[in-house]
Symmetry: C2
Subunit: 595 residues, 2 copies
């Protein structure tokens, strides 16, 4: 027998695509495929546990089929030329074919056409296992059987340990392990339930709550539900709710109960509709501003109300659904999108993740047009955030005929000789939502019905839209104040960083006000800077999209937690120039690119 | 300024003891002291958090006092020549004095004079912190304040986060953090509570329960309480209790409730007596055999009753006091001493830790004389375990006048012309415990009152001891069977490993039957092999001592978990020679050293 002193160099031809790579003796096939730039599905981290990285070995030495491979080959009905790339040690030249099922699919999380691809790598994963039956010669424990499968020490809740022996014995030692991170068993289920893994993304807005049901196996959104945040009864903006919470110690519990009940109701509704058992929902991700996530977590908000405006947490390790009171799997987990600073919270960090701001090259603004207007500036490698109280006008609130972006809302208005209105769901018009308001103001300005200073020119000080729906002078004032808050915020943050609008490579506009914002109209009334169309990216509800990204991808969480620590905060209110800028910004006119 | 290209070599003179060591520029003083073999107290792992490693810098360059040092210097009333060795970078020759308070004290955990020193390094540690007050220029979160003190990301339960802002603000940002491992905050307490850290060690025996209250700051035992295990009503041995548990699904809950209530009662009693608040008890360690720890954890025992005699767990990560139902701190932890194999459980692994068997050089037997007789053989670097059903006679049960080793029990008997009895607590005699029985049998044999085959020679078949207390023929039979089980077990395990008794370097005798076993009498009746006195180590309740070791020392847990995986199990019952050996062993005579 010849002994090799230097390892051989082998050639691997990969189909389809016909890429060729070289490999040393005993190299792991999965590593070489990855290095060739092929996004092979390595869901379990190359442990031979998930059976997702099968490749067909067309030519070359095939080692004997291992126990794990045999299990999956039978289950998937593959032929015996297939091997798991993560277990395959290279011993010869190879010609291999990678089936489409073994390639990870990128998932686009934004609804508006902007692409932020996310690779499916969720926090909670399920593995279908065939445990080795215990033998009399080697008595071991039930727990050790699972630990042997994972080749590591595991943490298992007592309640799971209690039911585990019966589940194993009654199912011929075929079980599905629900894993949270690498070493924490969340649950043990009988047989193969690995396809039943669901999560919930939540946008907990001041005015609007959105709940999204996500399939964590496919990465697909199964359904979305929107509702008004009932906390509005305690105050329409977060400052008044904080005031309510501080007034009496029971009020915080009241606020918590209000939102928790609403969210549990929405989760129940969405699961019922899709006929999904709550036991198969293992994780919730929540994106919300600091007061909202503090209310939901029942955390004291006193410190948010006075300088230095401390939140209780910024990045938080995962909580349990139980300690929060969510009705999903009883051992489910909850991840809270991290707060940045002061009032710039988890909704914004989720938004930054949704547009992957950290990876963009150049200078960018990220603007969230919610009840609180938050602005994040990326100037090369530095990040700065600020917030401004825009009020709920963009979400259709505090407007006489305003409403959320729900069926029946006038969300788009066009001026073709006569004014043409479009309602969501093409239902009869019930009210006007944020995007509709912006279109209307732009049209009124264009037609001269409203002055640059926001005065309605007819004597009745109201403009009829359709049926009983009108826009009043007060409505115009509300939107005028909201726009001025954003406009002066943009101007201040650019000035602080010695940047002009024309040095921006792009602006991301986020907002929970329905799906479409007319960018030209927004520029016309001065809400957005007059940049070229291709520089303005309307990303819709990026808070919800970011929550979904965190649900699908554990690395996305790690990335945002690093980013959040580097963002500096700048207080608009503390700056003496802000008042002047704000008053100037009250006029409905285009922003100046060099201003 | 001269720049050093090669680091300087400095000389450190350490007093008292006058050791000298060398150090490079910028070396950490704590490292050099440790390397000099001085057991410097580095409780917090060199993070400057515990203030326990102060040294006095008599001569040499002293850097400015750091914030943390200043805090502890004031608190401890030290002079300003003192510095924390874990923060001190060496910049010159030094002459230092190490105060006695900065040296870790070894704690001896066994009650019987045998030394197994343990260094105090508990799982749960408390740190008194002065947090930096938040500033307006750098808004941060409350959680980040604590994370900054520990310089790492922490896991904090929601309930702790909720109360944290008020505690910090009301106590001038002086708090005590209760830490479980390096990154898990168990609790936040106002001011300095670092001296209030208690744990409970439990020996959960088949017949006897022992609860020990330990001060985790000093390592001292504060009190111990012993009681009968009320589960006896469901069966005097574990097999009959397993039978009871299997009969009806509610019975397991019944067994769990029985022991949990008893232990909670004992814990409450011992805490009341010592006036310690249960909120300051953060951890429980339980040592028990597999059925006992399964009952207590409410784990199914079916698999313990049939081949291959699987337990549900061997090594278990920490559980919460809440999931078990223990009444200590509401976020307290519970560590369960690991099961070895089959019926050799956590009581034995705790015992092995108590005598530090893994570190002994040579061949050793560890024998636990409980209701189950377990035997572990260490033959050089290999370990083998077996178990044998001795019955509860050694604990005074199933004996007509038998009782636990409680006040009033005859625990020692001498033959000086007349028979002299000694009772525990010097109370009037109420019954006879295991050690007393062994003395009595030896005396009866010596006096010819009982034959080698165990027959009482007088006609009434009972021997009066004192008052109404007698030994019956049946009592003799019980103890005879118990001794034979142990004796034949020892013979079998030695034979399996090709060892003879005279090749043993020592025997550790453990047992929960009170404090003193007369070794000569035990050899006389054949219970123990006839080795020289210095080779026989009576270690008392090593299960309890091991539980205490696990409470005091996290490394002791890691060590035993590694050892447990290497111990092979040998089934006596499955061996055809056992019956013969057992019958031979029924005679009351000395074991043969070469047999």
């Amino acid at each position: 027998m010849e002994k090799k002193i230097h390892p051989n160099l082998y050639r691997i031809d990969i189909f389809p695509g016909k890429k060729a790579v070289t490999a040393d003796e005993n190299d792991l096939l999965a590593d070489r495929i990855q290095e060739a730039g092929i996004p092979l599905s390595l869901y379990c981290g190359k442990k031979g546990l998930c059976g997702k990285c099968f490749v067909e070995i067309i030519k070359g030495k095939r080692p004997p089929v291992e126990e794990r491979e045999d299990f999956f080959i039978k289950q998937k009905g593959l032929n015996r030329k297939h091997r798991l790339a993560c277990l395959f040690r290279i011993k010869s030249d190879l010609e291999i074919r990678i089936p489409e099922e073994s390639i990870i699919q990128e998932i686009s999380i934004l609804q508006t056409g902007e692409r932020t691809p996310v690779l499916l790598d969720p926090q909670i994963k399920k593995y279908h296992l065939q445990l080795r039956k215990p033998q009399i010669a080697l008595p071991s424990s039930f727990l050790e059987m699972v630990e042997n499968a994972f080749q590591k020490k595991l943490r298992v809740p007592l309640a799971v340990l209690r039911k585990f022996p019966a589940i194993a014995e009654q199912n011929h030692y075929q079980i599905t392990a629900v894993m949270d991170s690498d070493d924490q068993v969340l649950d043990i289920e009988p047989g193969d339930t690995s396809k039943e893994n669901f999560g919930i993304a939540i946008d907990a807005g001041t005015t609007t709550l959105v709940v999204e049901l996500v399939d964590l196996v496919t990465g697909k959104t199964l359904d979305t539900l929107t509702a008004r945040n009932d906390q509005i009864q305690y105050g329409s903006d977060v400052m008044s709710r904080i005031g309510f919470a501080i007034k009496d110690s029971r009020n915080l519990a009241e606020l918590k109960k209000s939102i928790l009940n609403a969210l549990n109701g929405m989760i129940g509704q969405i699961l019922d509709k899709k006929e999904i058992d709550k036991a198969n929902v293992y994780e919730i991700v929540i994106a919300g501003n600091p007061p909202m996530n503090h209310f939901l977590l029942g955390l004291p908000v006193e410190s948010l109300a006075r300088a230095p405006y401390l939140s209780v947490f910024s990045c938080l390790p995962e909580l349990t659904s139980d300690e929060l009171g969510f009705r999903i799997n009883e051992r489910g987990k909850v991840y809270v999108s991290p707060n940045i600073k002061s009032f710039v919270g988890g909704d914004i960090s989720a938004g930054l993740a949704a547009v992957d701001l950290a990876n963009k090259k150049g200078n960018f603004l990220f603007i969230d047009l919610g009840t609180n207007g938050e602005i994040v500036l990326k100037k090369q490698d530095t990040f700065m955030a600020t917030s401004t109280a825009a009020g709920p006008a963009f979400e259709g609130m505090n407007i006489s005929c305003g409403m959320l972006a729900l069926p029946g809302a006038i969300h788009r208005v066009e001026d073709r000789d006569q004014i043409v209105i479009h309602t969501l769901g093409e239902k009869p018009a019930l009210g006007i939502c944020g995007t509709g308001l912006i279109d209307l103001i732009a049209i009124f300005l264009e037609r001269g019905m409203v002055s640059v200073r926001g005065r309605i020119k007819n004597k009745s000080k109201r403009i009829r839209i359709t049926g009983n729906l009108t826009i009043t002078q007060k409505d115009i004032r509300e939107i005028q104040l909201a726009i001025a808050a954003i406009k002066s915020g943009i101007r201040m943050i650019l000035m602080k960083n010695n940047l002009k609008l024309d040095q921006l490579d792009g602006i991301f506009i986020a907002g929970a006000f329905g799906n479409y914002l007319n960018i030209r109209n927004s520029i016309r009334i001065g809400l957005l800077p007059p940049l070229d169309d291709e520089k303005i990216h309307f990303v819709g509800n990026s808070s919800l999209a970011g929550a979904k990204a965190f649900l699908l991808s554990r690395p996305a969480r790690e990335k945002i937690e690093s980013l959040v620590k580097t963002i500096r905060f700048f207080s608009l209110a503390a700056d003496p120039m802000f008042q002047d800028y704000f008053i100037e910004a009250l006029e409905f006119k285009e922003q100046s690119l060099s201003g």
